[in-house]
Amino acid sequence: MFRILKKSLKTGVVTGRYPSAVQPAEQIAAGAREKADPFGRSLTIREVDTGSCNACEMEMNALTNSVYDIERFGIHVAASPRHADALVVTGPVTVNMERALKDVYKQTPDPKLVIALGDCAINCGLFKGSYAVTGPVERHIPVDVRIPGCPPRPAEILKVLSELRGGDDRQ
């Protein structure tokens, strides 16, 4: 017990120790912010991987570590689409995941936002044209927000998400 406390005290607060996002987050379409309005200052998101290389997932996961600590902004990751305000979709949408994506979209209650995370979700990236890919995401479901990058840095994702909920990304 003593060891654990000592470790925590020694470590101190690490939240916020990250370089600020450099990429401007101008990708939020005009209508998207209004759509996000009903959710107030909080946002519950469900992550759907439709064929990413998994780096985009890793950065989403990084948002939950103590450095970014996404929960302090009222942003939660839900385990089911039924609890979600927003879907975060990664990957170029493979033929095998197309159905699953549409199902998840249907199961998410309205009003809802769709956020395409990463170049693959936005335009299929390097996988564009492949027989096994039917994306991008907006071919199958309406997309409100795009966060480009391969993968976008956690700080960049955070910036967009916090802007959506009408705050800034440092507090």
Partner: protein, 530 residues
């Protein structure tokens, strides 16, 4: 019996009729075998006590339009000196049949089903011919890696159902899980059969993320395909990128300058550290021990930020190129790396003593998800998972690449094959990687970091390479086509061989322990599905 040349000579002697040709290409012993003799020969190779070849890779090549034939290739690694022995057999473009070796060598089963799906070649005598990569809704006759299949065609949809293996009996239930899971993880399907709490059987149904990677390689040139390799499995960007580059370099006979090779080792070890840190935290987290998870997440983030400062990419993307690396680090940056790692190692060691003082954690980890050495060997399991089950293999030591010929690696090895053993291997490897990076700073020579490719390879030339990534052995086989394009690129992520093994490791465990066992394997879905 020692090296591959001797083994090849022995096979030639024992099976003089069956062996059609014998050669050594890029130092790899190679035998061309008569198609119907393949099972007999590989059985001998696999079972003979002083040879003990284990199957490392099995793949096919469609040689059209240059030559009207298919080729099926078998890469064996021989027990003692870890030598490679390559066998191949040819099929005319009329035949669609080849002899399955799965009845003799269990590890061949997914490979042969993959060949069936991707090339439409049928492994005769294979005990399980259900589809693997292609899901049931793909139209009949779709075989994407055949040369007459257009890479960008739109697939139709048909009806069909995958038949899971059923267990019947009183009180036996099936629990389907996935493809979409609760957390932020990749999609895959798991079908459990349980009687009460214990798992009787698990069947994994993957390939949801199949993006047609190998076909996409064929649309690129040898030089510009590195970004695609980096995106096969994002968490292993360096591992895959490096294995690809090395295969092309072998094909072209290029020698990467020493400084470039040291930098490659550096990047590979950085990747290993940040992934292992994440895994140690995630394993603890799945026992609800969130304290360790929080600390590990923080340390992992430090490395990712360090990666970003060094190279402009948190995943170290864009640092590799055919012929070397693109970033030469300054001495100052080496000081920064080592200073950061010194702090992290101290930090991590403190955490380690906290973790192992926790009795309830130990209780969850010990004897959970045991993968026996026998099962591991039968599946030719690789990497961390193999080393936790007593398989003493590490490509960095056994078949040195990058700068590992000058950087001897101490290989972590545990016997029990449980979750704890897999955790221990990772922890030991974090320390070892940090030590290696200190060595790299001490030993790295001055000089150029890359060479330019000097020629365009002829169609049909090939290269083969292995890299010990943080998960295990990554294999690439690259064959040149016309005008410096890629004719064929076979990608083998360690996950492809380790996924079938997890089905055995969970037997007898309870479903609530599955996430923990799965985390301790931490396999890639993207790298498996391709």
């Amino acid at each position: 019996m020692a090296d591959a040349a001797a083994a090849a000579a022995l096979l030639k002697k024992e099976f003089s009729e069956a062996v059609l040709a014998m050669a050594s290409i890029h130092g790899i012993s190679w035998l061309r075998i008569q198609t119907d003799q393949v099972p007999l020969l590989v059985h001998y190779l696999h079972a003979k006590p002083d040879v003990r070849g284990s199957l490392s890779l099995l793949w096919a090549v469609d040689h059209r339009p240059r030559e009207a034939r298919y080729e099926v290739l078998y890469l064996f690694t021989l027990a003692e000196r870890q030598d490679w022995l390559l066998l191949s057999t040819e099929l005319s473009d009329e035949t669609r049949l080849f002899r399955s070796i799965t009845p003799h060598i269990h590890a061949a089963q997914w490979y042969e089903r993959e060949i069936r799906d991707m090339f439409g070649l049928i492994p005769q005598g294979h005990p399980d011919l259900r589809r693997l990569v292609r899901h049931e809704h793909w139209p009949k006759g779709t075989h994407p890696l055949k040369k007459d299949f257009a890479w960008d065609q739109v697939l139709g949809r048909q009806q069909g159902e995958y038949r899971f293996r059923h267990i019947e009996g009183e009180g036996v239930f099936e629990a389907p899980v996935g493809p979409i899971h609760a957390g932020i993880i990749e999609p895959g399907h798991f079908r459990f059969s349980v009687a009460g709490e214990p798992i009787l059987q698990l069947e994994v149904r993957h390939f949801w993320k199949h993006r047609g990677v190998e076909k996409l390689f064929e649309q690129r040139t040898l030089i510009d395909a590195v970004p695609l390799a980096e995106r096969v499995s994002g968490d292993t960007s360096v591992g895959h990128g490096l294995a690809y580059c090395q295969a092309v370099e072998m094909m072209m006979g290029m020698t990467v300058p020493r400084r470039g090779r040291y930098l490659r080792s550096l990047f590979l070890e950085l990747e290993r550290i940040h992934n292992h840190l994440g895994d140690v935290g995630a394993i603890c987290n799945d026992t609800a021990y969130t304290l360790a998870h929080a600390h590990c997440g923080r340390m992992k983030e430090r490395i990712m930020q360090l990666n970003d400062r060094l190279t402009g990419s948190r995943f170290l993307r864009g640092v590799l190129t055919v012929g070397g690396v693109t970033r030469g680090l300054a001495a100052l940056q080496f000081d920064e790396i080592v200073a950061e790692l010194d702090q992290i190692e101290k930090d991590f060691s403190e955490l380690e003593s906290i973790i192992f003082a926790n009795a309830s954690l130990a209780d969850r980890l010990e004897t959970t998800g045991v993968l026996t050495e026998r099962t591991a060997r039968d599946h030719v399991v690789t990497g961390v998972i193999g080393r936790a089950s007593g398989i003493d293999r590490d490509i960095r030591r056994d078949r040195p690449f990058a700068a590992y010929d000058e950087l001897p690696v101490n290989v972590a090895l545990y016997q029990y094959g449980d979750v704890r053993a897999r955790l221990r291997v990772r922890i030991d490897e974090i320390h070892e990687s940090i030590r290696l990076i200190r060595e790299i700073r001490r030993k790295i020579p001055a000089g150029p970091i890359a060479v330019e490719p000097s020629r365009v390879p002829n169609p049909g030339e090939w290269g083969l390479s292995a890299v010990e990534g943080w998960r295990g052995e990554i294999l690439y086989y690259v064959m040149a086509g016309e005008n410096g394009c890629i004719h064929r690129c076979k990608v083998r992520d360690p996950s492809f061989v380790n996924w079938p093994a997890i089905q055995w490791a969970v037997q007898g465990n309870i479903i609530p322990d599955f996430p923990l066992i799965n985390k301790s394997f931490n396999l890639s879905y993207a790298g498996n599905d391709l």
